[in-house]
C-alpha cells in the first residue's frame, strides 16, 4: 500500500512538491478572481513562470 501511494506521488507530483502546491494555490486564486469582474486569465501563466523559476533556482544555487 505504501509503495502504491509512493508510486502515485512520484507519478503525479515528482521531484519538487512545491511546484504542485504552487499550482494548486494558483488555481484557487484563478477560480476566486474568475467570480469577480477582473480578468483572471493572466494568473495561471504568471504563476507557472514564477513556480518554475523558483523550483529551478533551488537546484541552480
Amino acid at each position: 500500500m505504501k509503495r502504491f501511494a509512493r508510486f502515485w506521488w512520484d507519478f503525479v507530483v515528482g521531484d519538487d512538491w512545491r511546484v504542485a502546491a504552487g499550482i494548486l494555490v494558483a488555481f484557487g486564486l484563478t477560480a476566486l478572481l474568475a467570480t469577480t469582474p477582473i480578468p483572471a486569465w493572466w494568473v495561471l501563466p504568471l504563476a507557472v513562470a514564477a513556480v518554475l523559476w523558483l523550483s529551478l533556482q533551488r537546484v541552480a544555487r
Binding site: 521531484d15 467570480t35 518554475l52 537546484v59
Partner: protein
C-alpha cells in the same frame, strides 16, 4: 528483457500489461464522459500542468547544464548488465524477473500515454478520435523508426523532452484556466499565445541558468 533474459517471458509480460491497460482505459473512458466538462477541464488541466512542469523542469536543467544529459547508450548497457546478472526464479513456467520488469515497464509507460489520450479525448469530446490519433502515431513512430533510424538517433532526447514539457504545460494552463472559470481573450485563438509564452519563458530560463556556473560542463 527479450535480448538478455529471453523473448517468451518478456512478450508475455508486455502482453499482460497491454490487457491490463486496455481494461483500465475501458473502465475510465466511459466514466470520464459523465463528469461535467468544466470539472474535467479543471482536473485534467491541473494534472497536465503538474505533469508538464516535471518534464519541463528536468529538460531546462539538462539544457542549461545543471543536470547531466542522459547517455542512453550507457543506461542501456548498465541495465542490460543488471538484467543479465539477476537471479533466475521461475513462476508459472516463466522467468519471473523478465516477466515483472516487462509488465511494469509497459504498464507504467502505457499509463502515461493512456492518461494523455483520455484527458485530451475527454476534454475535446471524443475519446475514440484521440485513441485513433494515438494508434496512428504508434504506427508512424514504428515505421519512421525503421526507415530513418540513423538520423532519428541523432535527435537529442532532451530536445524531445523539452518539446513535450512545453506542450503539456501549455494545454494544462489553457484547459485548467477554463475549468477554473476563465474566459480566454479570443477563446481558442489564445492557445498559440500561451504556447509562445511557455516556450519563451522556458528558453529564457535556460539562457539565465547557463550564465551561472553549471554543475555539469
Amino acid at each position: 528483457m527479450g535480448l538478455t533474459r529471453g523473448w517468451r517471458p518478456a512478450l508475455v509480460g508486455a502482453g499482460a500489461a497491454t490487457i491490463a491497460l486496455a481494461a483500465i482505459v475501458a473502465a475510465l473512458g466511459p466514466a470520464l464522459t459523465v463528469i461535467p466538462i468544466e470539472v474535467l477541464r479543471l482536473v485534467v488541466g491541473a494534472l497536465l500542468l503538474v505533469f508538464g512542469l516535471q518534464w519541463l523542469r528536468k529538460a531546462i536543467l539538462r539544457a542549461s547544464g545543471w543536470r547531466a544529459i542522459r547517455d542512453e547508450n550507457a543506461v542501456f548497457a548498465r541495465e542490460r548488465a543488471e538484467a543479465a546478472s539477476a537471479p533466475r526464479v521461475e513462476h508459472a513456467g516463466l522467468d519471473w524477473y523478465a516477466f515483472t520488469i516487462s509488465f511494469k515497464g509497459v504498464l507504467l509507460e502505457g499509463l502515461e500515454v493512456a492518461f494523455i489520450v483520455l484527458t485530451f479525448g475527454s476534454t475535446q469530446g471524443s475519446i475514440p478520435l484521440a485513441a485513433l490519433g494515438a494508434g496512428v502515431a504508434v504506427v508512424l513512430v514504428v515505421l519512421t523508426g525503421i526507415v530513418v533510424r540513423e538520423p532519428l538517433g541523432r535527435v537529442p532526447e532532451n530536445t524531445l523532452a523539452f518539446a513535450v514539457g512545453v506542450m503539456l504545460t501549455t494545454f494544462g494552463i489553457f484547459w485548467g484556466a477554463e475549468g477554473a472559470g476563465v474566459d480566454w481573450p479570443g477563446d481558442d485563438a489564445a492557445l498559440p499565445g500561451v504556447l509562445v509564452f511557455v516556450l519563451l519563458i522556458s528558453l529564457g530560463f535556460v539562457t539565465a541558468l547557463r550564465r551561472r556556473k553549471p554543475a555539469f560542463a
